[in-house]
Amino acid sequence: MQDFVQLWVYLSTTPLFGLTATIVTYVLAQALYLRLGQAPWANPVLWTVLVLAVLLTLSGTPYPRYFSGAQFIHFLLGPAVVALAWPLWQRRGELRRRAAAILLAGLAGGAAAGASAVAIGWALGLPGELLRSLAPKSVTAPVAMGIAEQIGGIPALSAVFAVLTGLIGAISGKYLFDAIGGLSMQERGFALGTASHGIGAARALQVNADAGAYAGLALGVQVVLASLLMPLVARWF
């Protein structure tokens, strides 16, 4: 028993622990998600995050120790953002033809999401620092952190808000779109990518290739628009 405790103490302090825990939990959550016919509420990111957060809290493992291993996965967010050029390139003809509609819809949806988040938070009496962290939440996590830093929010909190936003879109989007009715896969995907970035896009990619491509496009449009415009708008407040 003593040996086991020593072994655990050793393992839990190496980066191997965070990396293994993340990938193993995700693989299990993904298998369960597929088994359940990709039901939105069975979202693998949601369950992986919940299981890991509970495990770390129960075992008294501090987040930085977990992150020392998980950072290898986190790092890939940068190359993944670069890789978004690929689905855009594959549909370049269609996108060029629809450029104006795509930019306008991205601008309208991104502005509506960001402004309503800040307005609702303000009406509910949240402090300014939290409002500034809420503003970039529809942009993919690594970019949301950068924007939060520029406009005086808390980067780590923005990243968490961004992940929550992504999950909410991925989980509830299907029901919302069905309620509206008459939306094409492109329109659904584009809305998911605009309002809930990479996690919404991941959901769209799993459901339909067209929806996935438009979600990837929307995510890219949102990243460019938000990084350019949000610091300018924030100066007025």
Partner: protein, 120 residues
């Protein structure tokens, strides 16, 4: 090997993006500029084939990459216990508003598209 070459191109584009952002003091994150650079570089066959393979693999598991940041929620339990419910209300409602506005605006704009001409 194509996977490795593709990853090399992605990292090169990202690095070029980071350098440009710092040199020109651009208000964009480095990976975003890297994406724009790659969009131009994809015209080249040597870039396109390997990048296509690695991009499909990476984007298929995009959601995994958000897990480490998401687990960070455990470090903000204090803020969450004070403002959690209000923050959740703001996030849920604004996400729904964003989804609906985007979908409806795009649908309205695409409906006005002229009927497609037959491709020559």
């Amino acid at each position: 090997m194509p996977l490795l070459t593709g990853l090399a191109w992605l990292l090169l584009c990202q690095s070029a993006g980071e350098v440009l952002v710092r040199l020109l003091a651009l208000p964009l994150p480095g990976p975003v500029v890297g994406m724009l650079i790659l969009l131009f570089a994809l015209r080249l066959e040597v870039v396109r084939t390997p990048v296509g393979a690695v991009a499909d693999a990476l984007l298929a598991h995009l959601s995994l990459l958000f897990v480490p940041v998401g687990v960070g929620v455990m470090t903000h339990l204090g803020l969450l216990s004070t403002y959690g419910l209000r923050m959740l209300v703001a996030i849920v409602l604004s996400t729904w508003i964003g989804l609906v506005v985007t979908a409806l605006v795009l649908r309205a704009l695409l409906r006005r598209e002229p009927a497609q001409r037959a491709e020559p």
